[in-house]
Amino acid sequence: MWLIDTQGRKEFRHGQEAYCLASDAAHICGGFRPDVEEEWVANEERSCYNCRLRRWTEDSFVCLLAV
């Protein structure tokens, strides 16, 4: 589900539209922190796409939790 990018960051492999996978990932993550509501993009509240620790990239996002 994750790739380690050239800067050693954890990048979500499935892009910005994989809602089920992003939700699955958040449900097994102990570090999930919901972002402010206006920044939610997924219907499921608990989703990496709604997490404060995701940093959007052009194609996907990286997770700021330590690898």
Binding site: V36, E37, E38, E39, V41, N43, E58
Partner: protein, 246 residues
């Protein structure tokens, strides 16, 4: 006079969001009897490695109808507020525009759209602000937020960008409401399909939790999508994930 107030880049990973600060500013304007504040909109800007941001790159804008004599105190208050309330490590920017005095509205709108597609510099923002005759100021850090603050003014002015902060409060019966009932409970300009059609008041809509509104053609709309089974209603509120483009 009608003013647009936009702020950007006020947060860090631990702090309140920029939207909350915009709401606090909007409420303070009313608390001080300076005028009436309107809804806050969120405007997505370019996500690019060369654009610094916290976890998203969006600015927050609202309109207010104020007495002309409070314009300068409002700008001073808003600047101090950002200086005080913005998070450590943020780069806050503030833009305040008097709508009827805006020299070239089309240039402001074009700047906003440019900020969604290309990397813009602080200098470009200050040059454009001078051309437009709007207040633009930075209140900490690198001040890079001035780019988004000015862009947000243009995007709000254009009336075709952004989602409203918060969600619509709509009472339903078993999750259903007619368009007429929805309009009676909100200040929406209408209930609109993703294809752009307005629904008639008798149409029934399945309203999901925390429905969002978007800014289109200068009005706020709740977007709906067709329901496949068409049993209780032909429409449902468009899922949040399909509203990303606004």
């Amino acid at each position: 006079m009608k003013v647009l107030i936009c702020i950007d880049d006020t947060d860090n990973l631990e702090s309140r969001g920029t939207g909350e600060l915009a709401t606090m500013l909007a409420e303070e304007i009313e608390r001080r009897s300076w005028g009436n504040s309107d809804f806050v909109t969120r405007h997505q800007l370019l996500v690019h490695p060369d654009v610094p941001y916290t976890s998203h790159n969006s600015s927050m804008c609202f309109a207010a109808d104020i007495d002309g004599k409070v314009l300068d105190p409002l700008i001073a208050y808003a600047g101090d507020f950002l200086q005080r309330e913005s998070a450590v490590g943020s780069d806050p920017g503030l833009c305040v525009s008097v709508v009827e005095q805006l020299g070239e509205p089309e240039a402001a709108i074009a700047f906003g759209h440019s900020a969604k597609k290309e990397v813009l510099t602080k200098q470009a923002a200050y040059d454009m602000a001078a051309r437009l005759g709007v207040h633009l100021s930075e209140h900490g850090g690198t001040g890079q937020g001035v780019v988004g603050a000015l862009a947000g003014i243009g995007l709000r002015l254009g009336g075709n960008d952004g989602r409203l902060k918060g969600w619509l409060k709509i009472k339903t019966k078993d999750g259903l409401a007619s368009v007429g009932e929805i309009l009676a409970q909100t200040t929406l300009g209408g209930v609109r399909t993703m294809d752009g059609d307005l629904l008639d008041v008798e149409e029934m809509v399945e309203v999901e939790s925390k429905p969002k509104a978007v800014l289109l053609e200068g009005k706020i709309y709740m977007m709906v999508s067709p329901l496949a089974d068409g049993g209780r209603a032909r429409w449902r509120t468009t899922p949040r994930q399909q509203l990303k483009k606004f």
